[in-house]
Assembly symmetry: C2
Homo-oligomer: 104 residues x 2
């Protein structure tokens, strides 16, 4: 990835219990990787229940297409009805990008 490209920052706080979440998350991870313009994804959830997932995209059109994907849309509804106490989506243009890798 070299800037400029796009990032979608998704932060969420889970409700209690799995309620089908783990299976759905795994399915979404498979599906997103098949989408045109998808560059990568990173995800972490801490012990306090706050999760941050950042997906990377080549352009805004690719983000919109993924948003409108029927299976993703259906899952998003379950997120709001069941899995998330709150969630926040931010669509960003990545302007600069610096990496550090330890020499081994």
């Amino acid at each position: 990835m070299s800037a400029p490209y796009y990032a979608v920052i998704f932060t969420s706080l889970r409700t209690a219990g799995d309620q089908g979440y783990a299976l759905a998350a795994e399915r979404m991870l498979t599906l997103v990787q098949e989408q045109p313009g998808f560059l990568g994804v990173e995800s972490a959830r801490g012990e306090d229940g706050l999760g941050i997932t950042v997906s990377y995209w080549s352009c805004e059109a690719a983000i919109l297409a993924w948003k409108q994907h029927p299976e993703h849309s259906a899952i998003r509804e379950r997120g709001r009805s069941t899995w998330y106490a709150h969630c926040h989506t931010r669509v960003c243009n990545v302007e600069r990008d610096y990496a550090f890798q330890r020499q081994t």
Copy 2:
């Protein structure tokens, strides 16, 4: 926060052991909140060791000033010498912002 504003996405993989990390992270969290243009920060580290911290800023000048803060610069060097196997910093313009909050 209402778009547009800036986000800095910092992803990292920790080396083994604390080596002063927790104390330094706590100090940086205190210090960043005193910086002009700072809007907020969210952080999560998963069991696999991948951490994602996203800080939010009013403008690019505020991000640059924080980058150049002497104490932050010194800590960043320790990150590279000691705490991180790899890390990645992305400076982003947040163009759109959607929130969902469960009604209780």
